[in-house]
């Protein structure tokens, strides 16, 4: 009796899985074997792996994503740690999350004003005597804005990991004579490593594909994998090459998931 009903209401969901998860994945791989004229070819992959430009771009893209991840981690870990020690932490956490509900493009747009030639930062720089600098459309501005945008996504999983931690471990470590630093190094950090991992996951992969920031803030100087895909799909209409880069990005994503995955825990949660 229930079985029949199960099948019935499972239909739209299964349909969605097939049409919007499986099919697009298959299609992007399929498309990557076609050139601009619609002929089957392995040329896209050949171009990708033989041209220095694409490889350099990929490497660059990874390097920037790596930097963004490191910066966010260094800012977010202490924030999450201190946050977990405050009174009314749920409220503070909510205030950390609130900026993520403002559209990303509006925040990027704000930085156009802040970093522009006559903007606030430059006013400050000329006030302290350094003089006006070109800030907008540099690699640095891209890094700053990307880091700014990703901070809440790093704080959240680390905060959750800190919350889940059993406080008696810290007391035990103190009782056993460890100082604050040792307690942190041997107890707190290892226990929150899963939070750090999911934070890295949540920051690194999107950082590879922030094409709107590279356009608005980076002034097309920084080209990430995301920028290249957008360019190929919407500007040059070379879908084959775009899909090839997409496949590379998907593989990169899978590798990152494997490295930062927490298999043991997942099994424990879903019994």
């Amino acid at each position: 009796m229930t079985k029949k009903a199960n099948v019935f209401y499972f239909i739209p969901y299964t349909f969605w899985l097939l049409l919007f998860v499986a099919a697009p994945l298959i299609l992007i791989v399929y498309q990557s074997f076609f050139n601009v004229d619609g002929q089957f070819t392995l040329g896209n992959y050949q171009t990708y792996f033989q041209s220095g430009t694409y490889l350099r771009m990929t490497l660059n893209s990874f390097w920037y994503a790596f930097l963004i991840t490191i910066f966010t981690l260094f800012i977010s870990y202490p924030t999450a740690y201190l946050l977990s020690k405050t009174k009314h932490k749920q409220l503070w956490l909510l205030l950390i999350i609130l900026p993520t509900w403002i559209n990303l493009l509006l925040k990027a747009y704000a930085f156009i004003g802040i970093f522009s030639a006559n903007g606030t930062v430059n006013d400050f720089l000329s006030f302290v005597g350094i003089g006006r600098q070109q800030i907008l459309f540099t690699d640095l501005s891209f890094l700053v804005v990307a880091t700014y945008i990703q901070i809440p996504f790093m704080i959240l999983p680390i905060f959750n990991a800190l919350e889940e931690m059993n406080p008696s471990f810290i007391r035990a470590s103190r009782d056993l004579g460890a100082n604050s630093f040792e307690t942190f190094k041997r107890v707190v950090f290892p226990l929150t490593l899963n939070g750090v991992k999911s934070g890295v996951q949540a920051v690194f992969i999107p950082s590879l594909s922030l094409f709107m920031l590279t356009r608005l803030i980076g002034g097309n100087r920084v080209i990430t994998l995301g920028t290249a895909i957008e360019q190929h799909f919407l500007v040059t209409q070379n879908w084959g090459m775009g899909s090839t880069i997409g496949v590379v990005l998907i593989i990169a994503m899978i590798l990152i998931m494997l490295f930062t995955g927490e298999k043991k825990k997942k099994g424990a949660v879903r019994k």
């Binding site: 919007f20 493009l105 608005l216």
Partner: protein, 277 residues
Amino acid sequence: MKNKRFKWSNLYLIAVFVVLYSPIAFLIFYSFNDGGTMNSFTGFTLDNYIAVFEDTRLIGIVLDTLLIALLSSLLATIIGTFGAIGIYFLKKRKTRNAVLSFNNILLVSPDVIIGASFLILFTFIGFRLGFISVLLSHVAFSIPIVVLMILPKLQEMNDTMLKAARDLGANTWQVMGKIVLPSIAPGILAGYFMAFTYSLDDFAVTFFVTGNGFTTLAVEIYSRARQGVSLEINALSALLFIFALILVIGYYFIQQHNMTKKQKNKKQQHAEAVGMR
């Protein structure tokens, strides 16, 4: 000494909050500027707000964006709820895990990949880009989040209640309506809410599947921001900030409600355990 350290840590937190909020404050501050730039504040005006309300095209885009968000989150919630219940009742663990991994693919994929692959999909089946393609895409990427919001509630549900209901002669629909749906209602609500905000916030996927005739707010902001500064966007962002604030407060109350229920349950279980002894 302890006191001093406490102050330092507060200073750090305050600094982070200042950094997080300063761009938003900056936008809102300059929305009242009558100088037309974000560089120097020349005088207070509400002209930019008036301009937003007089810009019928912009208002239309806002309404379209809201319509897409409302519709897509509603559809995603319906499909996702059935999906989550279906996953919960899957007997084989392996199948369940496989379906769940499939479910999560869209959550972890970069937006660019989702956008590009949906674009290929729509052109492949010969679908015209526009309102419907954007709506379908938003439904598609909202479903997994709905499923993930509902599944924990299903797992919290008491299995024996289902058995008891069946023993007492309830049919499938009665079991659904009287037991399953009420116990997962908070998850459904939270899922709808998250889907709604996902849809409002999305830029990258929409950018790929809009085509020429149709835009959402994020896409419109992108094209305007590329042309340079226009304080109309600032005024709009101030309005959106207030809207987001209201949404967040709403979300906070949903969360709080969920929490108290959980706590209540825990308390009750504890009381029962004590009583049994």
